[in-house]
Amino acid sequence: METAALIVVLVIALALFFDFTNGFHDTANAMATPIATGALRPKVAVLLAAVLNLVGAFLSTEVSKTISHGIIREDQITPVDFIPIIFAGLIGAITWNMLTWLLGLPSSSSHALFGGLIGATIVGASILAINFGEVLSKVVLPAVIAPFTAGVIAFLATRFAYLLTRRYDNKPDGRDGFRWGQIFTSSLVALAHGTNDAQKTMGVITLTLIMAGWQSADHADPYPWVIVACAFTIALGTYMGGWRIIRTLGRGLTDVKPAQGFSAESSTAATILASSAFGFALSTTQVASGSVIGSGLGRRGSKVRWNTVGRIAVGWILTLPAAGAVGAVAALVVVWFGQWGILIDSVLALAVILGLFWRSRRAVVDASNAMSDVADSGHAVKVKRNPPPTRRQRRILREQARLRAEDEARRKADAKAKAKAMARRDAQERAREDALARAARNGRGGAK
């Protein structure tokens, strides 16, 4: 019993560590755009993101319920034996998360978590223990649909923002004011991140407590202490991870205008908050990336860089099976070696944590360890510096050209008429002079 309690404590500690890395990894999702457009000072942005992640974690528990009461079939497993499997799944998630971070590969913390849990469950328990219907409808499909949804919404919102503020007389359009607005929308993204991501850890801890018999399976909501612990851990991770954004700023999102950033963030926040209310466990990284690409396409003259999009998409697709494979290996170690397996996995987890710490102490930031996947999405769309004119602008330009041509023609006609008149006057003058000269000659002849 004492060993079981120790394993539960270990799982909770590991889940909270995952929560910390989630905050650490994903601060960029909320704050990369406002810092890139100069809307917020980096330190203020990071502090704001931490506080709002904390608040967001208290808003809803639907996603937590999806994890604790959805993806695992409790009738197909032995509850107490399942706790080490959750532990192995978390090892898979954390290892994959850190590995992709160290290698600079695009990834999603949420999918790493689901992949790790599913892989470990298949190997450690049975494939029948996975509720594939719930996994498909609450995890896989939202993962596929959400980036597109966010992209379409961001595209329309960007078009709308530009349409409403466009001026045709070259006077100030006030779009600079979107910079203020970004403080507001990036705060919303941080809030949404706390609402969706902190709940995933709450769900894992609640699932562990149910398996250990410390919480009734009928009681779906996480305990208040679980909510508080997860909220504070994700907030702390967000604050600690923020300093890296300051260094990765110039790398991506260099062409995001305030109006575009505002629309992208509104779309990200709206998609995540609406999904959280329905219990869809989304990847905030993917939603934010979809929004950045969609808002880029919303600007005139933009083109998709399919190579970049493809690279990001491959990273996303790989996350679930790859984290699943790592989770499966960790579960295999537990299955083969029993409690010694848990010890081996713990050592492995500690090595990963120390590796992360060692890496984060190094000041070098380059393409291999920059972690802003959202910033990468900024490169997925190429926007012309001088976009082509809108239909109305083309009409105005055509009208101006027509007026200029008419003016030119009138001027030419005037000049021609003036020249003609002058020529006529000259001819008349010459004729008069000739007449006078003739008259004078005739007069002199008469006098003689």
Binding site: A36, G174, A270, A277
Partner: protein, 110 residues
């Protein structure tokens, strides 16, 4: 048989689209009205960073001058300008209300 609630996806899309367009729309209208009221916002960046979209202090000063010049040439009367300013504040307020309303809906839905 796996059952998927497609309606829920549609609901998420419609709710998110409506929320994003409301927030962006009200905010953009508010900015437009601020410009009409002769108070075109020129917001210098909080801190000069590597990003190319960030304007320099010199560019900010130039933009402020252009905004002031445009405001002087505004064809609106003082009363109309005050009305536009009021409209701008109301739009900002509605934008905030849309967000607060959305969050309240999520909390109520718990």
């Amino acid at each position: 048989m796996i059952e998927i609630d497609w309606i829920a996806f549609l609901e998420v899309f419609v709710a998110a689209l409506a929320a994003a367009l409301l927030v962006v729309g009200f905010y953009a209208i508010a900015l437009r009205l601020l410009v009409r009221a002769g108070r075109a916002p020129v917001v210098a960046p909080a801190e000069f960073t590597d990003a190319i979209t960030v304007i320099t202090p010199k560019e900010a000063r130039k933009a402020e001058k252009a905004a002031a010049k445009a405001a002087r040439k505004s064809p609106l009367t003082e009363g109309q300008k005050r009305l536009a300013l009021l409209g701008a504040y109301v739009s900002f307020g509605l934008c905030g209300l849309a967000v607060v309303g959305g969050i309240i809906l999520i909390i109520i839905g718990r």
